[in-house]
Amino acid sequence: MKLIYMDNNATSCIAPQVFEAMKPFLRDEYGNPSSMHNFGGKIRKYVDKAREEVADLLGANDPQEIIFTSCGTESDNTAIISTLRSYPEKKHIITTKVEHPAVLNLCKYLEKTGYRVTYLEVDNEGMLDLNELRMAIDHDTAIVSIMYANNETGVIFPVEEIAEIARVREVIFHTDAVQAVGKIPFKLTELPIDILALSGHKLHASKGIGALYVRKGTKFSPFIIGGHQEDSRRGGTENVASIVGLGEACRLARESTEKESVRVKKMRDKLEKGILKKIPDVKINGHTERRLPNTSNISFEFIEGESILLMLDEKGIAVSSGSACTSGSLSPSHVLRAMGVPFTYVQGSIRFSLSRYNTEEEVDQIIKELPPIVERLRKISPFGMQETPKK
């Protein structure tokens, strides 16, 4: 059975070119770029090249604005902690209710240590009310941290407007762009974002590598304190192989995103259309236009997500769910709940997230396999349009 992988917002395959680019640094070229000898020192230029590639993809002015980290979470944590340390007199953070735990749980933690946090609401389509943001900023606000695109629904926030609001009010704006980078093209030269976080394994690089963009002139205080690596902004010997891999992944993304995102969107739309046509009582979660081209969050009423997920798994189809059973806690997706999606729908939510490595045949296969699964589970379910047995 061939695997159909449609969980790319969770993680993505390493692109073949990325793997090839990494290989020498996992075997022969193991030198430390900080070394004085040539064997190590020559590695430096590969790290620098990767930095340029990341900067190029983001449309950053200067490669020095890129700091390599270990993952998206470290990047997000660094952005927020660094800013709070740089503005010690300010004690207010603005974020949203639908952030990734990398931001959300850090904010909850900071709340306990004396910070005030405003969690902006979203509407039924997962969109923000920017007036709410304008009202929330005050003289005490240190940072606005709002994601670029949501990992569960794919909803894209208007970061350009948000960045402008923050700039005018002289507040640092950080965006968790882990889901956006490599999926939609954008240029930081045109977006006044101060700090941006990204993660390698979401764009076909390896796990264990992330990056942080810090605009020149933005106050910075390191989160991981150690050696002089990354211009003394992030201690720890460079993860050279993964950095080189991330560089290659960014190069591939820069070359392909514009074109591939159109193709991916076409497949995603076909998938949605097929499902909506064949299965009743289905709902698409999130703004259907302002959305990542690869993500589809669909709810199937009356049935539970884990059951759907495992039945699809049986067929070799890998997806994820926002149901309580799969979240590892008792409550289902905080994102869908913040959007006011009724519980009857939240529990039955499935996220399909595609990549440029998916094919139309795979989409057709899912459209074929899914309806009987939903029908079977609905037959087992006590909810829905079933009659109450008479006594």
């Binding site: 049986e314 059973c325 006590p382 047995p389």
Partner: protein, 284 residues
């Protein structure tokens, strides 16, 4: 990814006895959509012999909920009602070759549905003592004030969001949220007056010996069973006047909610049953 046994996987993929018996002799409905599982169990019972001739289920839930429900029907078919009333959730889990710890509630749901179906068959009124007085607060999920108050009391709920998590109330359109807040306010106000009364009743001082023995009793009776239910445990390290030094064991070790366990369970129970100024400290 859950570590399901082969039997769980089999009963999920090929569930036995799916459906609903028309004009069932016993009907049990439990669970709700918030926790992600619900079960309707229907029984056909031979009234002369009290034998369960057939059992069918319909389940909303994850793989282990479906497997547990199906396993339950297989277990009880052919049993007499008396025999079936002795079936516990552990029997269901054992039948399936075990369930992941986090999924044990699926087997509990099976047991509850069975209890309700048997009560229904025997004509025992389930829990309708104040049914006519109850008022529906959340219209989206038809949750009554009685259910909300019970959830507040049993789970020590303090906020509307918590009530929503436990009962679904307020999880739909959200219009009833102010009413839920009112119920919370009223409940905790009453509770406060109760606490004050309890306080005055407990004014008499305990001797050291009395205090130590009472603390041990309370831990054995009120606290340890709850921790053991989650494969945890507790031991008393020392008692110094009102300070109780304890060590959490088993799954409690490294549990992220240790702090909550200590405050909301251990300390609050000791304050309730021993003395109101007890302080609990964890020894690691």
């Amino acid at each position: 990814m859950w570590d399901y046994s082969e039997k769980v996987k089999d009963f999920f993929k090929n569930p036995r006895n799916v459906g609903e018996i028309e004009n069932a002799d016993g009907l049990g409905d439990v669970g709700n959509i918030v926790c992600g599982d619900a079960l309707r169990l229907t029984l056909r019972i031979d009234k002369k012999t009290d034998k369960i001739l057939d059992a069918k289920f319909k389940t909303f839930g994850c793989a282990s909920a479906i497997a547990s429900s199906s396993a339950l029907t297989e277990i009880i078919k052919g049993m007499t009602v008396d025999e079936a009333s002795g079936v516990k959730n552990k029997d269901i889990a054992d039948f399936l070759g075990g369930l992941p710890e986090e999924k044990m509630h699926c087997s509990v749901m099976g047991m509850e549905a069975l209890e309700k179906a048997i009560e229904d068959y025997r004509g025992v009124k389930v829990s309708g003592k104040t049914a006519e007085k109850e008022k529906v607060v959340c219209k989206c999920f038809s949750v009554t004030d009685a259910k909300i108050i019970r959830a507040i009391r049993e789970n020590n709920l303090k906020t509307v969001d918590e009530v929503t998590n436990y009962t679904k109330a307020g999880g739909g359109c959200g219009k009833c949220k102010p009413e839920i807040q009112k119920l919370l306010d009223e409940f905790w106000k009453k509770q406060k007056t109760k606490d004050v009364k309890l306080e005055t009743r407990r004014k008499k001082k305990l001797t050291n010996l009395q205090r130590i023995s009472l603390i041990q009793d309370t831990i054995d009776r009120e606290i340890r069973p709850k921790l053991r239910a989650d494969n945890g445990d507790i031991e008393i390290v020392d008692i110094d006047r009102n300070r109780v030094y304890v060590r959490l064991l088993g799954t409690c070790l490294g549990c992220p909610s240790t702090e909550i366990t200590l405050k909301n369970l251990v300390e609050s129970k000791l304050r309730e049953f021993v003395e109101s100024d007890i302080e609990v400290e964890e020894v690691k």
